[in-house]
């Protein structure tokens, strides 16, 4: 498997965490809608949802931050190798 192909798979894999986040968010919003429709303690539902959605958002953001950060770190390293005078 060549490096370009691996790079594509890496981007696809990191996007999966955002698919999970979007899925959870859509599911929870759907449950809130249901509780509003049935007048079934919607305020409690909203309070619980805020915590749950936020946790998944932070996790997805941390993973993406690491993915991008490591790539940037690698690129900078290469640049210094090719142009050692710069910096």
């Amino acid at each position: 498997m060549n490096k370009k192909m691996i790079g594509v798979f890496q981007v696809v894999s990191i996007s999966l965490i955002w698919v999970l986040f979007a899925g959870i968010a859509v599911w929870i919003v759907n449950l809130i809608k249901e509780s509003v429709r049935l007048h079934d303690a919607p305020d409690a539902s909203v309070a619980i949802s805020i915590v749950a959605i936020l946790v998944f958002l932070v996790l997805a953001s941390v993973l993406t931050y690491v993915f991008i950060g490591l790539r940037k770190g690698r690129i900078e390293d290469k640049e210094t190798e090719t142009n050692p005078v710069s910096g």
Binding site: I6, Q10, I24, L31, A41, V55, V62, F67, G69, L70
Partner: protein
């Protein structure tokens, strides 16, 4: 494909199981796969014939599946929670332990999380939770918190694994594409280290409340009902204490097993076992304190329904299990671990295995007696697990062993880069830390 590097590595014992796996590895994997396949067949039979193939019936409608669910999720606290606490408290002796603990969490959570679906009998009915769930129900909180904990612990396991994956990639270990894919281009630059450290710090802080919430919410499934023996305000912390307790025991057992199989005596030293076993001893005392408080309150209230469950556990049909639980979780570990002469590796292994068995019995003691003695005028229920339930239990354990073996086959069970970092920097960091909080000595006349 490049060959495996012949360059000697300072931590060669950690790479040996990956570069040169033992011959009996495939034999054990084969046996485990056969057990798992048979378990799959047994489960398929349950789907076809329904929950009638289990020992569950009115009024005992929760049996092995929910016991194992609570038990496995409890064990999962071994990893991420303990690892995060040790990292946050900057305990330097954590370095060879954290990875092993984190792997337990990821595998066990996946197994435990499936048990409520197995318990459903009709797994297709899970869809009702997604489309018509009530967010006020602790069952929904459970799904959310377990999913969050699983995601967090997998990320928490993966991120500190990246530098080690890069070591394997650079040594040309097969399958190279896997290590290339998972290493995310790690080159060990200063900037990459900064990114990794920052992410780890965020995760450490997030993981602890999530882990605590998971077992608290599991306890809510019981304590938010008015069932005798369940309706208790201390169930949340009681479950969390029990989970950490069983988790530490699980780490100790795995450490002893891996130390023996992979010959890791140089990494997992007696001091690691000593520290963790003292922690296990403290948790044993804490567990006893919670158990005592729980039953004393119930006994003092003397509510008739509560007392029926109480005596059923203390002197009734479940008395052998109850007293076995107390012996396994309290008497035996305290006896073995409080004495320096018996706090040896065999002693710690016996105490840890005893705690694992004891904590499983605790889940049994909590769930079945309360259901067998309901408030409604039913005769006392009987629960005898069937072959199906036993097989699914054994299958679950087999999946855990297989998962752990596969992890150890492809990744180091001890963090190589953290050990290297520890060798280079720990002494300096610890000296600086000590000098930062120790008072400066008074100037003496000789010094003057």
């Amino acid at each position: 494909m490049l060959p495996v590097s012949t360059q000697p590595h300072p931590d060669a014992p950690l790479l040996r199981p990956i570069e040169r796996p033992a011959r009996n590895f495939y034999l054990i994997v084969g046996i485990l796969l056969a057990i798992i396949l048979y378990t799959g067949f047994v489960y398929l039979r349950q789907i076809l014939f329904g929950l009638g193939v289990t020992g569950m019936a009115q009024p005992v409608t929760w049996g092995f599946y929910i016991i194992n669910f609570v038990f496995f999720i409890g064990i999962s606290h071994a990893g991420t929670l303990i690892s995060a606490i040790l990292r946050l408290s900057k305990a330097e002796w954590r370095r060879p332990i954290t990875r092993m603990a984190e792997v337990i969490t990821a595998i066990v959570l996946a197994i435990g999380g499936l048990h409520p679906i197995i318990d459903l009998g009709r797994p297709d009915r899970m869809s009702h939770l997604f489309f018509n769930g009530r967010l006020q129900s602790p069952l929904l909180w459970d799904i959310t918190s377990i999913t969050a904990y699983f995601t967090a612990s997998t990320v928490y396991l993966y991120i500190p694994l990246i530098p080690d994956i890069a070591i394997l990639r650079d040594r040309g270990v097969k399958p190279r594409w896997l290590y290339e894919f998972l290493s995310w281009g790690w080159q060990g630059t200063e900037r990459q280290h900064k990114v990794l450290d920052r992410a780890m710090n965020i995760l450490m802080v997030i993981v602890i409340p999530i882990a605590v919430s998971v077992h608290t919410i599991i306890s809510f499934i019981f304590s938010m009902t008015v069932q005798p023996g369940w309706h208790s305000t201390i169930f949340g912390p009681y479950f969390v204490v029990g989970a950490i307790f069983s988790g530490i025991a699980a780490i100790l057992v795995l450490m002893i097993v891996f130390r023996k199989i992979f010959r890791l005596e140089g990494y997992l030293k007696h001091i690691h076992f000593n520290y963790l076993s003292i922690l296990l001893l403290i948790m044993s005392l804490l567990w006893f304190y919670f158990t005592f408080s729980e039953y004393l309150t119930g006994y003092y209230g003397h509510e008739p329904n509560e007392m029926r469950v109480f005596w059923y556990k203390f002197t009734g049909d479940f008395a052998p299990y109850f007293w076995a639980m107390v012996s396994c979780n309290f008497f035996l570990p305290v006896l073995l671990l409080s004495n320096r002469k018996t706090r040896t590796i065999p002693g710690i292994l016996i105490a840890s295995l005893s705690v694992i068995i004891g904590m499983w019995l605790e889940r049994l003691i909590i769930i079945v007696p309360s259901l067998a003695n309901p408030r409604l005028p039913y005769p006392t229920g009987i629960y005898i697990p069937t072959h199906t339930e036993w097989m699914l239990f054994i299958g679950g354990i087999s999946v855990f062993i297989l998962g752990y073996m596969l992890f150890a086959r492809f990744f180091p069970v001890i963090s190589i880069w953290e050990i290297e970092e520890g060798r280079k920097e720990s002494a300096k960091i610890v000296t600086e830390r000590i000098s930062s909080y120790m008072p400066d000595p008074e100037p003496t006349s000789a010094g003057e």
